[in-house]
């Protein structure tokens, strides 16, 4: 009996930690300057962070708990809590996850492979650059997991088709997998549709009345910052993982043979590409008027209506729990703002840092960028933006710049597998160890931090 109880404690230890932390917080006195509702919202934030990071309960359960606690603790009315759960950002998250399933199911990976290999030839470094740049460019419009899911099998097939034993080609494997993943991670902040967190930030900026950021305006802000990192990013990859072989001629030959079996583009595949181009055009030209999420949902409708994908496929392969969780964290972000907790935290951060923080905006930027980078390597990017965005936008400097900095820095989850969807996907192949992420990740993180600080100081202010 005691062993069973101990085992239960072992399994649920983080849930217990969350309960204890939440309960203790509720019994502590409310700090000066903070409302009771704001304090209770902060208690929920802490509990939710513990539950998300530890996965002590299923993620959808955490999402439900957010709503339940908001009402039970008297933070808001049930109807308003329900309203905060659904927004255009949530539509976008839902739509982009469904679009990913629809696109991946089209079998376009073979065509993409031929395209990349015809550009790169057989040199390992050229192939690495090909993966890095193509995944970066495509991800900026289509989202991380769509592109990584499509290109990962290609990279692994190349590695496995080499005449050498693939266990002897550790660096080649790391080089190609990280080129694919980090290309996608870098690309994910290029446009609003590159990642859910971008849409969340646009939603916050708009809902809190701080700024209007259209699809094109985001590109003007973020795309140059993304492009400028390509040369150094590729260089870092090549220097960190020196491949054991210089050419993949046999592997490329075998791969081309395999891909050739797929034949030319089918009419369905052409239609799938056309539909995605339409979705992209919708994001560029219509998202201002009808919302980025509605465009994504319209795209899903078109894929379903034309029979390119079955609802059953979408239903089975879309992680609805993630949609619910993001809806919950966005709701929590809104409550942080509405209850004044976000402003209180921001003021206290500023107070803690002393006059440096108020006198120099650069200190605020550095603070936001570094803290976001650290947190995102522990928690997920979107949850990081959803919870921390409302706090950081109140630090005192231009909210648009602070918001953009938070969203962009939330892509810098290079140092751990959990820091990004792409990282998690390549880690799931079993070829990589956590130290591989650290080995190359800190270099990428440093590079991206420097470039982002450069943009914050010298480029973005000109766009205001």
């Amino acid at each position: 009996m005691i062993r069973a109880v101990l085992y239960w404690f072992y399994q649920k230890r983080w849930l217990l930690v969350a309960v204890i932390v939440g309960t203790v917080m509720l019994f502590l006195p409310v700090p000066d300057g903070l409302t009771l509702a704001g304090y209770r919202t902060l208690a929920i934030v802490l509990v939710v962070i513990i539950l998300i990071v530890s996965e002590a309960v299923p993620l959808p359960a955490t999402a439900l708990l957010i709503a339940v606690l908001q009402v039970i603790l008297g933070i808001d009315e049930p109807t308003h809590v329900a309203q905060t759960y659904m927004s255009d950002s949530v539509f976008f998250i839902m739509g982009s996850l469904m679009l990913a399933v629809a696109v991946v199911r089209q079998g376009l990976d073979a065509r993409l492979t031929l395209g990349i290999l015809s550009l790169t030839g057989t040199s390992v470094y050229r192939i690495m650059w090909g993966f890095f740049i193509i995944s970066l460019l495509l991800t900026s419009f289509m989202g991380e997991h769509t592109i990584v899911a499509m290109l990962l099998p290609v990279a692994l097939t190349l590695i496995r088709s080499t005449p050498e034993d693939d266990t002897e080609l550790r660096n080649l494997t790391r080089l190609l997998l990280f080129a694919l993943a980090y290309g996608s991670v870098l690309g994910s902040f290029g446009t609003p549709s590159g990642g859910a967190r971008n849409a969340i930030m646009i939603g916050y900026l708009s809902d809190f009345g701080l700024a209007k950021v259209s699809y094109l305006r985001w590109i003007v802000f973020a795309y140059p910052l993304m492009l400028v990192q390509i040369p150094l990013g590729g260089y870092i990859l090549g220097r960190t993982f020196k491949p054991e072989v210089a050419s993949l001629s046999q592997a490329v030959f075998r791969l081309k043979q395999k891909v050739a079996e797929a034949g030319p583009l089918t009419p369905q595949q052409r239609l799938a590409v056309i539909l995605f181009v339409l979705v992209f055009l919708g994001w560029v030209f219509l998202s201002d008027k009808i919302g980025i999420g509605i465009v994504a949902l319209a795209g899903v409708f078109l894929y379903l209506a034309t029979g390119l994908v079955e609802w059953q496929d979408i239903n089975q392969r879309t992680n609805w729990g993630v949609v619910l969780l993001y809806a919950g964290t966005i709701s929590l972000g809104i409550q942080l703002k509405n209850t004044g907790a976000a402003v209180w935290i921001a003021d206290n951060f500023v107070g803690l840092m002393g006059s440096l923080m108020t006198q120099f905006e650069v200190v605020q930027y550095a603070f936001v960028v570094i803290i976001t980078t650290i947190v995102v390597n522990i928690m997920s990017p979107s949850a990081t933006v959803a919870v921390m965005g409302p706090m950081f936008m109140n630090l005192g400097a231009e909210p648009l710049l602070l918001g953009m900095a938070t969203a962009v820095a939330s892509a810098f989850g290079y140092m751990t597998a959990v820091g990004s969807a792409a990282g998690m996907i390549i880690a799931s192949t079993g070829y990589l160890k956590p130290k591989d992420f650290l080995r190359v990740g800190w270099r990428f993180a440093l590079m991206s931090l420097i470039f982002l600080m450069g943009a914050l100081l010298f480029y973005w202010p000109r766009l205001l």
Partner: protein
């Protein structure tokens, strides 16, 4: 009888599989090989599953399937299963009792089971041992303090920690005898292992104080009689000192240590660890903990 062998990757699991198949062969037991891999974070499962679906179209399977394929071929090399048995087919992956199982060719389907799990190793092994009645679970390592303690605490089957196992070495058995209730089972289990491996046994009773209480003396005498009855070559030692250190010193690197589970209260064991747990952690050789 069916034993459970837990493996992680070819690099770290070669010895575990080797000793697992040897002991199973000696006991004429069947073998379940379970691979426990990392579970992707829940936030990324959608993307990971999407990628895995796409990889299947390119004949690239779950990394665990490759490890199980490797294990299958190794078991053929060790002649645990026939070399001319049908080939392992990763497509024959079925969901079974909440985990994935590779259905191996039917002639060997019962002798060998290949199971794929993802998640916390302790929780997954506990679930696996709840599904079937395994008398022995064979795991690698035994050097990671927290994991070793958790396995000893929560896994209900006997445990063999494969530590520094050398397949070319002829191991003797070092049986730790004390007044705990589990000593009796340990003696019987040790007798069976000694017969199966055709090796001799060193019976060791260690006391922290100079004298040996009646419980210790009775247990030692019974263990000796049991070995004599089974006609197993054995020696007997009574040693004073810290039990864990003594067992480890006497075992050296050429004995497999056999111990019964601790009589300590579970809560105290959880907080402070146990004598068998300390022995496993300090040992330079494999150790069997009999429950």
């Amino acid at each position: 009888m069916r034993f459970l062998v837990a493996i992680s990757s070819p690099i770290y699991s070669e010895r575990t599989l080797q000793i697992g198949s040897s002991i199973a062969e000696a006991f004429k037991a069947e073998l379940s090989v379970v691979y426990v891999g990392d579970r992707p974070k829940a936030l990324a499962t959608g993307g990971v599953n999407l990628a895995r679906d796409a990889m299947l179209n390119w004949d690239i399977h779950h990394p665990g399937v490759d490890v199980l394929r490797w294990a299958y071929s190794r078991l053929q090399e060790y002649e645990f299963i026939d070399a001319d048995a049908e080939q392992f087919d990763p497509k024959d992956l079925v969901e079974d009792d909440g985990r994935l199982r590779v259905v191996v060719p039917h002639t060997h389907g019962e002798k060998i089971r290949l199971i794929l799990r993802e998640g916390d190793p302790v929780e997954e092994l506990k679930q696996e041992t709840n599904i079937r009645d395994y008398p022995l679970t064979i795991v690698g390592g035994g050097s990671r303090k927290r994991l070793t303690r958790q396995l000893i605490q929560f896994i209900d089957t006997s445990l063999l920690f494969v530590k520094n196992f050398d397949v070319d070495k002829k191991y003797k058995l070092l049986l730790c005898v004390d007044d705990s209730a589990a000593t009796r089972r340990a003696v019987m289990f040790c007798g069976r292992v000694a017969q199966a491996l055709d090796t001799e046994v060193m019976l060791v009773t260690a006391s922290k104080t100079k004298g040996f209480g009646p419980g210790y003396s009775k247990a030692a005498a019974w263990a000796k009689r049991y070995m004599e009855r089974l006609k197993i070559a054995h020696t007997q030692e009574f040693v004073t000192g810290d039990p864990a250190t003594t067992f480890v010193r006497l075992a050296g690197s050429d004995h497999i240590i056999v111990m019964g589970k601790s009589k300590m209260h579970p809560l105290k064991a959880w907080l402070t660890g146990t004598k068998p747990g300390d022995t496993v952690l300090k040992a330079d050789s494999p150790a069997i903990l009999v429950k």
